[in-house]
Symmetry: C2
Subunit: 377 residues, 2 copies
């Protein structure tokens, strides 16, 4: 257990907190108000932000896509420079926030921003970012990571930088009420799998990290089971669970295994499948292919999360899969695309991105990926 | 669930991390190297710090007591001013760290530093603080609170300020190996009760906060049960559990009840009893006096922490008490002092400090305190 940890993001959690924007951003800043497809204009969040910023200078950039593309974000970078912006306010979910991190890091870089995603350029500074969260899912509002898509090559890649932690994040659970069930379900699955990627590894004996992960899994499980009884507290619990699932805390000092995400990213890059759905499709089958190395943690999860008295790992995996099915998620890859060469394309992209062997013990080979995809068709 | 949360302290966790001091403190600072009774000279920590600071300017101030007194700390303030100090390095446990917060806040204040403890002066700035932790117990290394004693009046009071979060804290679990059992036991109890004060309140339905608290209680319980099998990982788990128990996270947005601490502080102010031991003495009897209002959470604790299938609250309290006894702690107040007027003196001091009725529903009256003390004799 050896680690460095700091999470500098100020969290403002609760009803009505969007109004605090006026105090959270210094008056002398020129703000890039960044958002997505315009849903914030229908649910009243746009009005709340405009109201809070009435004594601030800002320019608006909208149209950041659900899987934010470098192509769109590069336009935002130019727009930000033209307007001498020195603060980005990201109002949205993971996509808009991730996008803001790309813009903030590219702003001071003369080359192609995609270099950051390919580790050819390491940002040395970034614009300040503030967040008004409108979706509970990715945890991006208080972590430093971002996933960006290159439309031209259908690639989806990750970067992180110590300079891209938002300085503040406003989490008003009321904003979740206008989301449709599909978005809420995606948030539940996304945060559940985020915890799993930091938990279903090896038996390391770090007590707090294991118990914290189980705490979040228990919380999200309860939310899944009470999906039809959503009230104010339900939304607040979802918002805080999703935040904690990926703010860096539960993964400090322990091994992590993001194999499901690596495969999932290629699938949503190739076919535009919702991020959370790619995870729900891949994760159970990945676990089935890695039964031996995952069995110890899976049995622990069965006992401590699902209260199962079993030493059959398959039953624990079936339980995880049944949760996703109970939320109405289609787990058949063939329902999302009629491409006959999914495995081949995924393997090619993974290779291009340097993932020939990955997973906690580097046991996920081309062959393993092929088997996982075959199980998932 | 409505809260503001930020924890700005950088945690450097792991073996050998003390050497990082040289990079964590800017070279142009003049450091007050603050420590306690000199145990760090016997266990090698002093040498590690001196080695790491060989290219820094620093002055030393030692002699901060286990319950740090304003009288000693005021001397440190004068010493710090005389030496134009602009950074405090606290090397110690909760007492030294709490002391550093008093010094950092008083440094810029012309009046009596004790005014801060009496809320007569609210610090508007403070010196920067860095920490090398030598005891796992109070969590003071990454929170903003401090408990200070006034020797003259035997008062022990609390203050907190947004300016007194340490900027960094080095947590090297190896430093715990030189502690005696009494100190380790105190750390286990202190952190266990810290969690309880944020957990044993009312049934609020905030899932993450409840599950996180149970996660820490389960971790500390396991450490108590494996006290005789202390290895590297055991110490690391203790250090991280104690930190998380009071860094502000588990108590965000939920009610807290520090009644046990309020009574405990008066007892250690009056009789010099170790802080943790006052908690172990008082807590079970306080719970017995507040059976009705605590029953829902106690039964939840019985089920989720102790895996007890009972609806008898008393059995859960007995279980808590038995943990403290199993660690060899004497729970009879009469063994620590032969004063016949304990209750009266505690009640008088509580009154002086504004605590005539306290606890989650303000149900802890003079009468309740008297009954709790009587049960504890």
């Amino acid at each position: 257990m050896n680690f460095t940890y700091k999470n500098p993001t100020l969290i403002e959690f609760g009803k009505g907190k969007i109004a605090n924007l006026k105090n959270l951003i210094p008056k002398d800043r020129t703000i890039l108000f960044l958002y997505g497809g315009g849903s914030i204009k229908r649910n009243g969040i746009y009005e709340q932000v405009i109201q809070a910023l009435q004594n601030h200078s800002f320019v608006e950039f909208s149209g950041v896509e659900p899987n934010p593309t470098k192509e769109t974000l590069d336009k935002a970078v130019l727009f930000a420079r033209e307007n001498n912006v020195d603060f980005i306010l990201a109002v949205g979910g993971g996509s808009v926030i991730d996008g803001s991190k790309y813009i903030a890091s590219s702003f001071h870089y003369d080359g192609d921003g995609w270099d950051i995603l390919e580790n050819k350029y390491i940002p040395k500074k970034a614009l300040d970012i503030g967040v008004v969260l409108t979706l509970a899912a990715t945890g991006s509002e208080s972590n430093s990571g971002a996933v960006i898509t290159k439309k031209q090559t259908k690639e989806k890649r990750f970067f992180g930088s110590p300079f891209t932690y938002p300085s503040f994040a406003i989490l008003d659970p009321d904003v979740l009420k206008s989301l449709d069930d599909r978005q809420i379900v995606n948030g539940l699955i996304d945060s559940f799998v985020h915890v799993c990627e930091q938990y279903l590894t090896i038996n390391h004996g770090c007590l707090v990290q294991d118990r914290y992960s189980e705490a979040l899994l228990l919380s999200i499980l309860e939310l899944m089971q009470t999906f039809d009884k959503k009230d104010d507290l339900w939304y607040a619990n979802l918002m805080w669970s999703a935040n904690q699932a990926l703010n860096g805390l539960i993964g400090t000092g322990v091994p992590q295994d993001w194999a499901t995400h690596f495969i999932g990213h290629e699938l949503s890059g190739l076919y535009g499948i919702d991020h959370a759905r790619t995870l729900a499709i891949i994760q159970p089958n990945l676990l089935r292919e890695l039964l031996d190395e995952k069995s110890q943690k899976l049995l622990q999860m069965g006992k401590n999360v699902f209260a199962m008295q079993t030493d059959d790992v398959n039953k624990v995996i079936d339980k995880i899969e049944s949760l996703y099915l109970s939320l109405g998620v289609n787990l058949k890859l063939s329902s999302y695309t009629d491409d006959k060469n999914i495995a081949q394309k995924v393997i090619e992209l993974l290779h291009k991105h340097g993932f020939d062997r990955f997973g906690i013990n580097r046991t996920v080979s081309k062959d393993t990926v092929e088997k996982i995809i075959k199980r998932s068709l």
